[in-house]
Subunit: 235 residues, 2 copies
Amino acid sequence: MQIRLFVPDDLFPDAGIFLSEAQAHYLRSVLRASEGTEVFLFNGRDGEFSGRISLLDKKKAAVGHLKRTRSQPEKKDLRLYFAPLKRDCTDLIVEKATELGATLICPVMTEYTSVSRVNTERLRLIAAESAEQCRRLDVPEICEPLSLKAFLSSRKKGDPVLIHSDESGRGRAASSVIDGTRPAAFLVGPEGGFSDAERRLIAQTPDTAGLDLGERILRAETAALAVLALYSCFK
Amino acid sequence: MQIRLFVPDDLFPDAGIFLSEAQAHYLRSVLRASEGTEVFLFNGRDGEFSGRISLLDKKKAAVGHLKRTRSQPEKKDLRLYFAPLKRDCTDLIVEKATELGATLICPVMTEYTSVSRVNTERLRLIAAESAEQCRRLDVPEICEPLSLKAFLSSRKKGDPVLIHSDESGRGRAASSVIDGTRPAAFLVGPEGGFSDAERRLIAQTPDTAGLDLGERILRAETAALAVLALYSCFK
């Protein structure tokens, strides 16, 4: 089992870097690592590097003798806009969306959204931890929440088609809407769905497409994971 | 929001049935239902029926004046065999697999499986609740756990191809392995993956196929949900 850590610093061959206090704690107390243990580092820009822990005490950790082990892959553009749910489900969406390749995750407040606050700092930690575990070399960007109306009106010409689930039976089949080689944006509503006014607003927004996810009514978080899986795992 | 309940009894027009004590409690204390409230019932055989609560006290509930609202769809054959994970993740797999259409869910014990007991009674409740919420008209069968070896040797000619995730880079693309119109069986390993001996055993088993789920290493539960989404939501 590899130890993989996301770091903000620039990484280059032979460099040495300090880790955060939280990472020092994690290495010592959770992973029982020690000086000399091999770790892998990535920052979302410079690829993946391996190195050895050169210093590890209660508050500090450093890694030295970096060697590049993988180059940074070209960044995809896979955006997930979702109505935040209760905390466990929101956490699940961020963790799984990171595994499934989302590059931008943005909470969108809708009429039937029952949570009023989203701790985006916490979601950034979850995304980083999930990226560390799934061997991604970048961490999805977590945006500050915005209203559905503000989000829809902020869309620009050239933005990827906004795909949303359509349970009316008139949605399009995944094979005609999802193409894993092109940028995509998914919009997933809250537990209670979008309001009628919101549905009209989405229908009036250019470059959107309703997607039929099958006859069962999926929970919001399941719908989010299903569309991301269709995009990232089907080829 | 419809109230939907899974019941074991036969359902037919104009019938009346008693609900379980747990359902009586759920209707009264969680949903604040009362006599006269409309509920929908299904049993996995007779389709869906609507009726009105005709009796509701602390321990008993009955529903009368049943009318058929949907006929029972033809049963699919979508089997998920998975190495049980820690409780939250196992619960998640059962809940989401039910939403995504699995018809049989079976825990399979492998060399690196770290849990030793699986409460299948509890998983049956989770599956029933998930079916109630997603408007399915059947509840997936939850099997008692069996060892990977016993499972593989119990496979018979005519069983659906056993599809397992293959992270070696030599796995096949979903488009060549998954066909949502035919019976399918998925096998998902534990956190640590299958052992080398288990991999050999799977490779020697007839009618199996390794599936490439993309470059990232998905957690076990994410892999389970991704393959089910590919099967059930792609068309």
